[in-house]
Symmetry: C2
Subunit: 189 residues, 2 copies
């Protein structure tokens, strides 16, 4: 998506440890008018899939998922990272390894909010090694629901997460696909 | 706001420890079409305030803040609860006591995303004792920005957070104001 690639080239910063910093418009400050336009592309790609629900993971997926959901006119369910006394009842759980924080954590969704009739679009800001996305797919499939696909804002194609997930038969659509990234700049596919 | 009060009466559940569970439409599953309508009320209330930015706190504030931001056509900045190597540079910090998780934690916003020209609307899902809202006000004021007010989805009026913050001169607008809540039901102001 040209609009997004241009914005990444303009405002993205590359940090140590393969970090692409886009926190001025994606994941700390969210440029809502801009991301609202960007998320229309998810609707264009998945509008024939009869999506009934969007699933994402806290925290930085939530805003993007809610903007996308306004185009699909469906609810969002976000997987939680901390147990809370605000959830009563049974939950689906899955394990995620965070390379950012270098630890495993459990994510959970209340069973109440996923059922076998649901056709779920998974939305997230980043896809790299695929740990979070794999966990979300597992949560949705445990509920017997259908994963119609995953909509990702930025994918690091040189890591293997997207390939493994596509090879498993899941449709993954990434709006900006980074082929390589180093101190000389970013090259998109 | 009648629409919201009716939904709380229909779908809200009261749990032990003064918990109002609204996770089927506010803070785990987000009923985006419904909350999109609800957040238009924030725009009606604050549209003359020349809001330049909406500030909230992760995680459950983010979706509501992004929906509200589509009406104001401004960016959202969300205060983060965990340090991350995705933030370089200086941050504003404040302490929040979570009654839900029974511990203190630090919230932070990168200094890059708040400046003295900003006119900030703070958005959150709940206001009870006011710890999170007080921290967000302090973050914004540390940046020299103006807090034009706070827009809250549900306020527990019988706790004193809202009163203390209003007495300090901050405009607080809550869309559902709960006067009392127990096993017999919920009474709104």
């Amino acid at each position: 998506m040209k609009l997004l690639e241009e914005r990444i080239l303009r405002d993205g910063k590359i940090g140590a440890g393969d970090v692409l910093k886009v926190d001025c418009f994606v994941n700390h400050q969210i440029d809502v008018p801009f991301m609202n336009e960007v998320t229309k592309e998810f609707y264009r790609l998945f509008r024939d899939e009869n999506v009934t629900k969007i699933v994402t993971i806290e925290a930085s997926g939530i805003g993007i998922a809610c903007l996308a959901a306004t185009h699909f006119n469906v609810p969002v369910v976000f997987a939680k990272k901390t147990p809370t006394n605000n959830i009563f009842g049974d939950v689906y759980t899955a394990q995620v390894y965070s390379y950012t924080h270098e630890r495993n954590y459990t994510v959970r969704i209340s069973k109440e909010f996923l059922n076998s009739d649901d056709r779920v679009l998974i939305i997230d800001d980043f896809l790299a090694k695929g740990s979070a996305l794999t966990a979300l797919i597992s949560l949705v499939q445990n509920a017997g629901a259908t994963v119609v696909g995953a909509g990702i804002v930025i994918e690091k194609m040189y890591q293997n997460g997207g390939k493994i997930i596509r090879d498993s038969g899941i449709r993954v659509e990434s709006l900006a696909k980074i082929r390589s990234m180093d101190e000389n700049g970013i090259i998109f596919e």
